[in-house]
Symmetry: C2
Subunit: 413 residues, 2 copies
Amino acid sequence: MGNQTSWLDRLLLRAIHRAAGPVPVRMSSSGDGAGDSVLSTIPVLRVADRRTLLSLALNPEMGFGDGYTAGRIEVEGDLLRLLEIVSKRPRPVATRYSRLLSGWLAWIQANTLRGSRSNIHHHYDLSGDFYQLWLDPQMVYTCAYFPEPTATLEAAQSAKLDHVSRKLWLQPGETVVEAGCGWGSLALHMARNYGVRVKAFNISHEQIAFARERARREGLSGRVEFIEDDYRNVRGQFDVFASVGMLEHVGREHYRQLGDIIHRAIGDRGRGLLHFIGRNYHRPLNTWLRKRIFPGAYVPTLREVMDVVEPHDMSVLDVENLRFHYARTLEHWLTAFERSFDTVVQRHGSDFARMWRLYLAGSIAAFRAGALQLFQLVFAGRDCQSIPWTRAYLYEAPGEDNQGEATWIRAIS
Amino acid sequence: MGNQTSWLDRLLLRAIHRAAGPVPVRMSSSGDGAGDSVLSTIPVLRVADRRTLLSLALNPEMGFGDGYTAGRIEVEGDLLRLLEIVSKRPRPVATRYSRLLSGWLAWIQANTLRGSRSNIHHHYDLSGDFYQLWLDPQMVYTCAYFPEPTATLEAAQSAKLDHVSRKLWLQPGETVVEAGCGWGSLALHMARNYGVRVKAFNISHEQIAFARERARREGLSGRVEFIEDDYRNVRGQFDVFASVGMLEHVGREHYRQLGDIIHRAIGDRGRGLLHFIGRNYHRPLNTWLRKRIFPGAYVPTLREVMDVVEPHDMSVLDVENLRFHYARTLEHWLTAFERSFDTVVQRHGSDFARMWRLYLAGSIAAFRAGALQLFQLVFAGRDCQSIPWTRAYLYEAPGEDNQGEATWIRAIS
């Protein structure tokens, strides 16, 4: 501690360290010596003034997020490294203020039909031009699957679409319902490569418009129908249910309802896949993320997701954890984002650009540190007749694919 | 219904059908016409007398199990087919009597240190000669892994030992603790083929003696230590935890304790595997099985197993459902058992032989029908550094194995 640090600063620093761990904090306005002494290997938080220090102490998540966004907090050293140190902290202690804010957010961001529309609009109805600056050409905004860590993002996103399709063991002529289809890549991939018909739901107007235009250009409009509607309004019978990156927006209190909707769609003979960001144990999502980036979002544990499948006697067939693949995916996104940083600042302003940088970097840190996981969960109804005998076919080269068909399980009726 | 069926019989039949579904029941002592009319495709329960009918109605599970064991119930037609029809029934309605019995069993069979010893002794301290009649030569008494459905049982059990070892990504020089090691096959396989040192725990005296003798004969005593003790007494530090077919004997109320023991053994950097019979949703195990075959046993849902991993921030990396592989394994066991049926009758009596036939056939039916699942769950501590990049290496031929090593994840500290 420098000599000029007041008792108030010390109090605030203590609160910050309780939440964030041994991260050195220094205050610009107090002269050079104020704040923590600096260990050279750890990045330093440079805080503009006492007001920012106070907001950090009161609610570290919001204080840091908004402070960084506004440029009142700068990180001297590696931002990612700092975020990883913080992410590695076990179960953060919530201050009374942050608990209040968290409860208030849960209430105003509830995923009712109308609430979901507003929550999704906030993030996904940003113009496609913005996402095109840093996503892959297919515009896949979920965790990629890198067969090798060195694969390009483009190859890894194609591999993910195929990994998901293979896990679902799609057969020509089958019908698929997709809940939360983004810009339509998975639905188009399935129809194009597996001869299935897909109904794909999304409540983001911008994304649906983009997806429909792609289907038209590719001549797939007859086999892929993009529907601008809530997953709760899915009607009809399908062989397969798929949802990639939507469960995080469903909200924990709606999992049983989601299970009912899936069961109504695929019955006892269908199969499905949920691809979602998860946790090792229950804790609420970072309040800053919920307030500024993903309103209404909740990241579930596997235990919580059992609410979807258990009530209908559906079997979990396969769970794969791709946490490090999401870190890698986000590294690609952040690299591309940084290359376009000036463009983003010009178009959307500095606050917006810094907010997005923090969100992307913070997500990398969380996946690396294990604060977030990525689960792909395959399930089947109690009378499902098409379950592969082993998972070996997932790892065969495309040409070898037919061998697997001999070893389907034809369930005993 | 035949004319000679009394109102009492009709009442009892109604109770039986509520529990077991549309299975025709006929009573031998009431002449030919008594009981249900018979649909030719469905096997018929031939019940010796009204006393047996009454026991069936009061507690279908116990009544059927004990009646079949004593020869007071015969199945005309395919026993397996009958058991599958019953297994396909959703959530059976428990009678008041069966609920009472279930609660009483839970109490007297509690898995305290002493209770577990008595429960395990009941099943696993039967002489090795008996199990040798129908298990594979390596004496593996858990679900096998059939790379192809047509593989022999011997090949499939070897493949299982290797599938488990590969999932654990064993490296030469590492240490493994195994909880519940049966006759020692997995511990010996790991030490022999992966250059690891293993401490393997089991409270079955007969099995430990057998396993030690095998280790001595193979010259592996220096690398595999078989310890006749409870998993709760595991001490020391290990890289890897493995347990195949023990969780069913741990008891639901001990999962958190098991998690504590695993965490004490492998810390935050280790990894582990649980291989266990599971359920799609919570319900108690068949009372007859718990009373006659597996005292103290409980078959958990994935949700319940989260009690093991969640409290220590361990990550679920992989879940595989091998339910149809257990049906196949049991088919091999039952076939061999039937070939030795007369020998079993000579050595152990007719009741014992019929009881074991029913247990094996009932288990096939339960796995085929989906009343039971088989899960292999791989997990890792929060700071685990050795996590394979993808699961592709699991499906490579042994020669290709080294390629995978380049793609380990070295976790970010």
